[in-house]
């Protein structure tokens, strides 16, 4: 990385198998708009959406808000699967008790 320059803070790549997104970087205020936009078609079509979280080294409350809004919109039309969350994301999910959403699954 160049000194004084900051790399794009969240890379969002679509995945086909399983259908969803691979996220790399930080999910926060400055990147949630992109994440919301990338989730939008999946929310529309419903079904199972897998977010590969292995590369997410930070998620703040604005990221959690996107997840909750997604879960609420999906309702019983679909579910969210978070795979390979790192320690700090797991901690966030745990403190917020998100495992108790019926349509969220967290896979180590």
């Amino acid at each position: 990385m160049h000194p004084g320059r900051i790399a794009p803070m969240l890379e969002i790549a679509p995945t086909d198998d399983p259908p969803g997104l691979r996220l790399v970087g930080e999910v926060d205020l400055d990147t949630v708009a992109e994440l919301t936009a990338a989730l939008e078609p999946h929310v529309q079509s419903g079904g199972e959406i897998t977010l590969d979280m292995a590369g997410v080294r930070f998620m703040g409350s604005s990221g959690v808000q996107v997840l909750i809004r997604t879960l609420n919109s999906l309702g019983d039309r679909g579910r969210l699967v978070l795979t390979h969350p790192g320690g700090s994301v797991r901690r966030l999910l745990q403190v917020m008790g998100l495992d108790r959403f019926d349509n969220l699954e967290v896979r180590a």
Binding site: D28, L29, D30, G60, Q65, I68, R91, L92
Partner: protein
């Protein structure tokens, strides 16, 4: 508490990655466990997001204080605290910032800027040795 290190940031969302880089750098040299550093990073990041979203300030300051038994991160802006409680049924999910700070830090102090005396100050303290984390139940 000794060794205060201060950094000022523009109050924009784009500052937040830089805030976290600063805090990660300080944490790395402080001997905190990764879990403790993560908790402090998230709590402090929420305080900074609030300065960006709600303070109306142009900039905010982050102060790192390394003490023998605890680390303190202070976030200061020059704005007025917006006195409201978010209700999810009306506004959708949100209002998680201060609750997260409270859940993650060991001590939270919020001194609120008023129109007559602007400047909100959030101080977050994390003990060095909180080996035992109270679980979520």
């Amino acid at each position: 508490m000794s060794e205060a290190v201060r950094r000022t940031f523009p109050a924009t969302a784009e500052s937040l990655p830089g805030v976290r880089a600063f805090l990660r750098e300080r944490a790395a040299g402080s001997g905190l466990t990764e879990a403790t550093a993560d908790d402090l990073l998230l709590a402090a990041s929420e305080a900074c997001a609030n300065a960006v979203l709600h303070s109306g300030s142009d900039e905010f300051e982050v102060v790192w204080r390394d003490g023998p038994s605890a680390i303190e991160v202070e976030v200061r802006d020059r704005g007025t605290f917006r006195r409201r409680v978010r209700v999810a049924s009306v506004e959708g999910p949100g209002g998680f910032g201060i609750p997260l700070m409270t859940a993650l830090a060991d001590r939270v102090e919020i001194s609120e800027g008023t129109p007559a005396d602007p400047g909100t100050r959030v101080r977050l303290t994390k003990r060095r040795s909180d080996a035992v984390r109270a679980p979520y139940e």
